[in-house]
Amino acid sequence: MTTCDQKDLFTYVLRLGDSGLVLGQRLSEWVGKAPMLEEEMALANMALDMVGQARNFLSYAGEVEGRGRGEDALAMHRDVGSFSNLLLVEQPNRDFAYTMVRQYFYASFAERLFEQLQHSADSRLAGIAAKAVKECRYHARHSGLWLVRLGDGTEESHQRVARALEDLWPYTGELFEMDEVDRRLLEAGVAADVQAMRTEWREALNQVLVEARLPLPSDEIWMHSGGRIGRHSEHLGHLLATMQILPRSYPDANW
């Protein structure tokens, strides 16, 4: 039992669940479209991991909230403004290079985040994180391998992945943001100190980019923000419209 504000805890866990859910939904859009059959398997595995993480976090968020909302109520019956996922994960798949860059950015971050959360004073959170850390570690490894191959592949693949890096880079600042909720929970030993992870995350990225012969992004770039407080890009509304169509159209039905 941890002594922290339950509202804070709800916000914190919901954010983790929303990011997992939105990324899982994006990855599942790839099914049937992968560049090779072997990669079909990998993309679906990552999608499954993310949906699994989302279910764990959202169920727990619902319990913490104590208003009877389960994973599906939270996933299917909230609109854009109540979603608190990172802007990064709602960005469209565009092409395989974008998808792998997005995956690497998130997974390499999540790996470090869950590494710390395994030791959270909140035992439920710690348990979910202990499972998720292994999954994200593999995702980072897999997408990192791809960045090297695409960056150091053909002229075309190099250009595509360089462009994806440039376009997605401004969404990485938000990963390391901490607001009052994070700070209070950090003090209570519940949350992770993401700010402190930024350097290590950046060093790991640089290593991959050097091997991939890709340019290192500049630190002077303006970073987007807002996903965590419900201010999203236009893309999220479309993603939710698709995902929520059945439960919204037939609110009385069980599936």
Binding site: G32, K33, A44, V51, R149, E156, S157, W255
Partner: protein, 332 residues
């Protein structure tokens, strides 16, 4: 498994007398229920039949991802989303197991894919029908996977080793596919009026195409007799179809759904369900490319292949560069 990569013995073609002897010895092994392995001598038509059947089977798995994939982003709950993801992924995996088995016969995956993408190769006609409501996902699991299992279980004993081993794996993994489908149907058949309508509508649309999955009637099946003699096939199309109808009709009744066949009746003497005439004209049309979704399905496979081309090129280019670097490093 071993394919063209492996040092195939490059022997001259046997003389006609030798060929007869080899064929007799081959048939004797089959009759003794011995498995044939990739590098064993086999008649060319046995090899061709297997490549055709296994690659068609593989194509069916890969194209079969598409109708269900159509609902992945719209699955009505997170649990259903996870289950469907795992199922569709299994289909990709099964396609890969099967391509892998076919490659042991000396045909590369690329050749097989080219045949699929050019429209020359066939795949199961069932995947050329659209998935229009969520109950279709239930109906596919229940009926289509149900029919597939009937077809596939005997293939676990197929005379060709790599195919039979692949099928053992496929059958083991697919055991949850049919159940998840029936579970969806059960929930919907017991759900709201609208859900019940969806369930009945799905059954109406998927019933006859499912019966067609077993292929033409025995009288019209070109390959059955030879395939049975080679123990590639263990039961005829009509035998398997009857078995499917017999087990499925009571399952539909349990759900309170109606099978869309006015001629359906239980033969009290034999215990078999008699069913109406299948529309073979429709079957032929769908198989020859004129089904409701043939163009979409092939189009989707083609665009995935074309849009993935730069990725595969990058992989090869990177591997080449790495090899050059390591040989330059060794030279230095």
């Amino acid at each position: 498994m071993y394919t063209q990569g492996l040092d195939q013995a490059d022997t001259a073609a046997p003389s006609p007398e030798e060929e007869v002897q080899l064929r007799d010895a081959f048939q004797a092994r089959i009759d003794a229920e011995e498995k044939i392995e990739p590098r064993d001598w086999m008649p060319e038509d046995y090899r061709r039949t297997l490549v055709r059947q296994i690659s068609q089977h593989a194509h069916s798995e890969i194209v079969g991802m598409l109708p269900e994939g159509n609902w992945l982003t719209r699955a009505p709950s997170l649990k259903r989303k996870a289950i469907l993801l795992a199922k569709v992924q299994d289909e990709a995996g099964h396609g890969l197991y099967l391509y892998s088995a076919a490659e042991t016969l000396g045909t590369s995956r690329q050749e097989m894919l080219d045949q699929l993408l050019s429209g020359k190769a066939k795949y199961s006609s069932i995947f050329n029908y659209p998935t229009l409501n969520w109950a279709d996902i239930g109906a596919i699991g229940w009926l289509v996977d149900g029919a597939a299992i009937m077809n596939q279980i005997p293939l676990c004993r197929c005379s060709y080793g790599p195919y039979s081993r692949a099928m053992v794996r496929v059958c083991k993994e697919e055991s949850f596919h049919q159940r998840q489908g029936y579970e969806i149907m059960t929930v919907m058949a017991r759900g709201t009026d609208e859900q019940r309508q969806m369930a009945q509508d799905a059954l109406n649309r998927w019933w006859w195409p499912s019966l067609m999955m077993f292929g033409p009637s025995d009288g019209d099946s070109a390959h059955t007799a030879q395939s049975m003699a080679w123990k590639i096939k263990r039961f005829t199309n009509d035998e398997l179809r009857q078995k499917f109808v017999d087990v499925t009709v009571p399952q539909a009744h349990f759900l309170g759904l109606e099978i869309p066949d006015p001629d359906l009746a239980l033969d009290e003497e034999t215990g078999h369900w008699c069913f109406g005439e299948i529309d073979w004209q429709e079957f032929k049309q769908v198989l020859s490319g004129n089904g409701p979704c043939n163009a979409e399905r092939l189009g989707a496979r083609r665009s995935a292949h074309e849009e993935g081309s730069w990725v595969r090129q990058a992989l090869l280019a990177h591997a080449d560069k790495q090899r050059e670097r390591s040989s330059a490093h060794e030279a230095a």
